[in-house]
Each structure stands twice: as structure tokens, then as C-alpha cells.
Amino acid sequence: MILIKGGTVVDPVKDRIEKLDIVIDKDRIKDLVPCGKIFESDQFEFIIDAQGMIITRGLVDMHVHLREPGHEYKEDIRSGTLAAVAGGFTDIACMPNTDPVNDNASVTKFILEKAASQGFCRVHPIAAITVAQQGKKLTEFGELKKVGAVAVSDDGKSVLNSDLMRRALEYASYCGLAVISHCEDPFISEGGVMHEGRISTQLGLPGIPAASEEIMVARDILLSKLTKCPVHIAHVSTAGSVQLIKMAKEQGIPVTAETAPHYFSLDHTAVMDYDTNTKVNPPLRTEEDVEAIKSALKEDIIDVIATDHAPHSPLEKEVEFDRAEFGMIGLQSAVPLVLDLVREGVLELTQAIKKLSVNPAFILNISWENINIGQKANLTIIDPEFEYVLTEEMILSKSKNTPFLGKKLKGLVKFTFVDGELKFTSKLKF
């Protein structure tokens, strides 16, 4: 048995924060009592002193690129899930843009088997909407669902054919799969490498206008309205998208939305030095967009915070800005950046944890047990006050492409339990 004592347990469902001691026996929570009621004894294998720490049900990241199969030099299922538990995530959903694309049951099964044998956390595969993500022909949603896919997405691009997207929403809803939409009009964004605006003008870099995202957000909302089927908008980055989603929710259209920590932590001025680690798709937007994303999180217009963890090696990043691939890693910087929002007063702690756990679990329809007696012990223990500089050595992902390298972060995941097993312990000490 394991005793975790003195920690502050956050319950995002009951919206409650209380100091509780937790006893873990094998894979389950055996006891949950007000602090100080359980005495240390040798019946415990070990005892974690969680004084001053936040304890939450393991976090869920619904937007991760694990790169396996095909691009194992950037990341694989082992390294990606290790970075995930180091970031406090016990459940991650991985995008299908691998090589081969996860557009059939055999790739989905491969990912699940690999995750079961080598992974540090649970992996939920997202399959492609269309074969080879080419936007032409639907994949076999029924079979994909049966073998364990939780959602479909052509992440990286939009399904351009609106009729096909309509059919995808209808058919996915019937099969019990979520549809995650990457919203981008590729004609308007073609050649662009950063947000089109003041900074792209100053830097002489071709721009991607906000409208490139908003056009597709609007379309997908209208398709969701037409079909009455849910759609989840990935990585929302603009104030315009927020407005559209707000309007849709007010009308009762079943749309949900996520944003990534970099869209509320950084704006387009971060690109100033031509740092390719700031090149992401959608791009870092304006100061006004960042404010709009924060308000949307506060007002629950945006339901989920997901990292869009996108590992790339120096081969793709140590090159000319326009040749560099889009994407930054995010699993290990999410918690401190979200805690910044709590410290700024943008989010309540329970609200923040909700967007990092129960909300994405609900959208993906994956099992999610709260911290209760008898439930599986999936726990993340965070020291919210721990300050440190993010170094390459700390990053457990194979790729180190993040603009937060060398930056000071506050808030560190100390321990992560997956089904009662301690999968991660931070080696950092005060």
C-alpha cells in the first residue's frame, strides 16, 4: 500500500478542493480521508509527502502526435508516453498523421498493442477521417471504433469537400466516434508561415490570415447544425473562431473546442527572432487573439486545453524558416502554463483541471474515474510553486522543439500514477 498525505485534492466534477490523505492498494484507491487521520506505519511500501501539492485525477491530452509508426526518430510511443506521464497525463489521444496513416484497423491495433507493451500511460488512437488523409474516401469508422479508435480527424488539414465532411459527421456520430476538425482553408493559407499581420509585415514572412481558420470553423459549425452531430474544433487560435463557437453554443449546436497552451501563452511577436520553434499551425496570433482565447477559456466557450504536442527533430527545425515543419512539443510545459492562467485569475483551479481531464475524456467518450474510494488510482501530483528553467535534459520527448526551452516555468508534475503504478517521479529537487 502507498500513502499520499497532506495533499490538496482537486475534484473538477464536484468543483471541490479539500485536503485529503489517499491510500492506494494495488491498482485502486483504498481510502480517502481528511488529512492527519491516517498514521504512518510499515504497512505502507512508501509514503509521499504531498504537503503544498495539488492532487488531481490523471490528466487527459486529446491532441498528441506520437509519430509512430513511421517517424520514430522524432518520437515513438515509448518516449511520447514517457513525456506524457512527466507532464501529468495518464491518458493521451494520438493523431493519425503517421506513416502509414492510421486509417485502418491494423494501424490502430498496432498503436494500442505497442502502447500496452511499452507505453507509460493509456493511449487512445484517433483514426483518419479519410483514407490516407486525402479527403476523398471515408475510412471504416465501424471497424476502427471496434478495435479501439476513439475519434476521427484528418489533423493537419481540413476535409475540404463539405459534403464528405457532412457524411463524416453523420457516420461518426452513428459509430460513436468523435470528429476532431483541423480548421484551415489551404488556398488562403498557402505559402504562409506565420500569422498575417503587423509582425509578418515587419519580418517579411508570408502570412496565414485568421480567416483561414475561421472560414472552416464556420463551415463545420454549419455542418454540425445541419446534421445535429457533434464536432470538436481543434487548436482554436483566433478571436473570430471564439466568436463563431460562442454563437454556435448559444444556438445549442453540439460543438466543442480546444486550444493549446501556446495560444494563450505566446503571441506572434515570439517569431521575431525567426525561431523555428515558434512556427506552429495554426500560427501564434495577435495580442488581441491571446486575450480572446483566455476569455473563451474563462467563459467555457473553449472546453479543453490540449497540447498539440508535435515533435520534430533538428532536421526539420534547424533550417530556413519557410522550410521548417510546423509544430512544437507541449506535454511537459502544459501544466505550468495552465497554472499561470490560474495565478493570473483567468481560470479557477477546478475549471483548469476540468479542461485538462474530465472535459476531453467526455468528448472522447473514454472512461474517466474521479478520485473516489474503489476507483482505479490514476493520479497526478503537482507542486504548483516549484520554479525551474526548462532544459533539454528535462524533456523526455525525443524532440526538444519548444520555444519554452531556457524559459522559467512555475509548477511541476512530481508524481504520476497510472492504475496504481507510479509511472513518473520528478528528479528535480529544491
Binding site: E196, G197, R198, S200, T201, Q202, L203, G204, L205, P206, G207, P209, D273, Y274, E318, V319, E320, F321, D322, R323
Partner: protein, 308 residues
């Protein structure tokens, strides 16, 4: 690093007003070398300069070579088709390999914005940006300043119009930054598809009508239209572009009577500039080319070890 205080020349943004004044001053004193019988001085003897042109260029490349040779330096030219780029070598690797041969400066033109900045950060040798993507062309801006100063005496307070494809022109971007730094007033005009978003953030005035834009101006700068832009529907036809935005005698009736016309070349005659304007007494286009050699001599001299 030289007494000039800069390892590289990557952007006009990095230069102070006094840096620019100093470059122009040195260029003025070096210009006479171009007209000497024996065009060679030993100032940079034993120095080697690599011209690494990843994009085609006639003027800029020749100008840098001429400048280097007059000052006595050895020059080596590499183009994209003869470099290892075609074999798949990365830009950083190519730059590091060139550095390993210990040159004194690398002049680079590249189709990607920020490419000179990328290599400058990773090698100790100085880097001169000879044009990066649609971003900047700092030596062009300096030679434009030199030419304007030569013809008009003083840059401060001058009224300058830049007409054409502002969005995709590295000359426009560097010229605007340089002219604003030196206290000129800049007005831009062009098809709306070729005006970058929030162009006013440069401190320029955006004018809808090119005829209005040149009104009362001391200097009119035309920009090259890249013909492939037509394919992206940035303008419907060369004919329409020429009719609406081509710098013509008629347009110049609106400027100050002694206004000069500039163009960075290569010109599309009859498109962005009419032949009778390009060949007129108003045109200082060939002076720009000559001054390019003088300004590049100054820059090479200052970066490789001139004394301030």
C-alpha cells in the same frame, strides 16, 4: 569583430542613424576608386570573400565582386546549382563548411526570409545579407540612400513615394526602414493585393491612387513586378498593371519638377516603368548601380576590419 561594431549586416533594422551615416561617408570617399585607371588598392589584400548566391542575380553579385576586387580581396562565387544544396546539404552545413575554409566574410542571397540570420547565428564569420526572401535587401537600401543623398543633398525631410509590389519586395522593406530612419517621409501605393497588412506600422502613408502618391514628391521608387505573381491572381494582367501603376511621364507630372526616379532592377520595361521614363534625365537607375559598388566597398571595408 571590426571597429564598426557589427559582425554581420543582416538587416537595416540593426543599424543606427550614425552607422548609416558612417557607411555613406566611407562610400563617398571610396567611390572615386571606381573611376581610377588602375582600379585596385591593397586595402583588403589577403582577405577572401565568398559570394553565396542561392538565387539568380546579376547586379548584386557583380557589384559585390567588383567592390571586393577593387579593394584587393579574393572572391569566390557559389550559386545554388553549383553548391551542395542540390545534393541535399542543409544551409547550416553548407555555411559551416564554408566557414571551415576560413573566409573573411560570406555574402548570401537566399530565397528564404531569415536565411542569413540563421547562418549568422551559427558561424563566427561575418555574414552580409544580399537579399533574403521577401524580407530585406539592406545593401540595396544603403545604395539607394547614397544615391538620394548624392542627388538631393539631404535625406531628412524628403518626400519619397514607393510604387508597386510592396508586400513581396525586399527592396521596399529595406528602403522603407532606411528612409524612415534617416528622417524621410514615405508614401506607398500599389494594388491592394500587394500591400502587406498593417503596412502603416512602418510609419509610412498608404495611398490608394499612385498619382496621388507621387504628388509633390522628391523621389519616386519603382519596384520590379515578379511576373509569376500574376499566376497567384495578385493582378489580372500586365496590361492592366501597367495602365494603373506603371511609372509614366504622365505620372511624373504630379511630382516636384526635379524629382528623381529610381528602380532596383531588373526592370520590366513597359510594365512597372515606361521606357521613356527609365531613359530620361529624371532616371538615376544607372547611378544606383555605380553607387552600389561604392556602398558595398564601404560595407566590406567596415565589416572586415576598417577603423571607425
Amino acid at each position: 569583430m571590426s571597429a564598426f561594431g557589427h559582425k554581420d549586416l543582416l538587416s537595416i533594422k540593426q543599424l543606427s542613424v550614425s552607422d548609416i551615416e558612417f557607411i555613406l561617408e566611407v562610400a563617398t570617399s571610396l567611390k572615386e576608386l571606381i573611376y581610377r585607371d588602375i582600379k585596385k588598392v591593397p586595402t583588403l589584400r589577403g582577405k577572401s570573400i565568398i559570394n553565396f548566391f542561392y538565387e539568380p542575380s546579376t547586379r548584386t553579385k557583380t557589384s559585390f565582386e567588383m567592390a571586393a576586387k577593387i579593394l584587393g580581396a579574393d572572391t569566390i562565387s557559389i550559386s545554388a546549382s553549383t553548391s551542395s544544396m542540390v545534393k541535399g546539404e542543409t544551409l547550416i552545413d553548407t555555411a559551416k563548411n564554408l566557414e571551415a575554409m576560413n573566409p573573411d566574410i560570406i555574402v548570401i542571397r537566399h530565397s528564404s526570409t531569415g536565411a542569413p540570420h540563421l547562418i549568422a547565428k551559427r558561424i563566427k564569420v561575418g555574414v552580409i545579407n544580399a537579399g533574403d526572401g521577401i524580407n530585406e535587401h539592406p545593401t540595396q537600401a544603403l545604395l539607394d540612400l547614397f544615391t538620394i543623398k548624392e542627388k538631393k543633398g539631404e535625406i531628412k525631410g524628403l518626400e519619397v513615394a514607393i510604387i508597386g509590389d510592396i508586400a513581396h519586395s525586399r527592396v521596399a522593406r529595406s528602403d522603407i526602414i532606411a528612409l524612415k530612419k534617416m528622417g524621410a517621409n514615405v508614401t506607398v501605393a500599389g494594388p491592394p493585393t500587394m500591400i502587406p497588412m498593417e503596412v502603416e506600422s512602418f510609419g509610412v502613408r498608404l495611398c490608394h491612387d499612385p498619382y496621388e502618391a507621387v504628388k509633390g514628391k522628391d523621389v519616386v521608387i519603382g519596384l520590379r513586378i515578379q511576373l509569376e505573381r500574376q499566376k497567384k491572381n495578385l493582378f489580372p494582367s500586365l496590361r492592366e498593371y501597367s495602365n494603373m501603376f506603371g511609372i509614366s511621364k504622365k505620372m511624373l507630372e504630379f511630382t516636384k519638377p526635379d524629382a528623381i526616379v529610381m528602380h532596383p532592377g531588373p526592370m520590366n520595361r513597359g510594365v512597372e516603368i515606361m521606357s521613356d521614363v527609365a531613359d530620361s534625365g529624371r532616371s538615376v537607375i544607372l547611378d544606383q548601380v555605380t553607387n552600389g559598388v561604392a556602398v558595398r566597398m564601404a560595407i566590406l571595408y567596415l565589416l572586415i576590419g576598417g577603423q571607425k
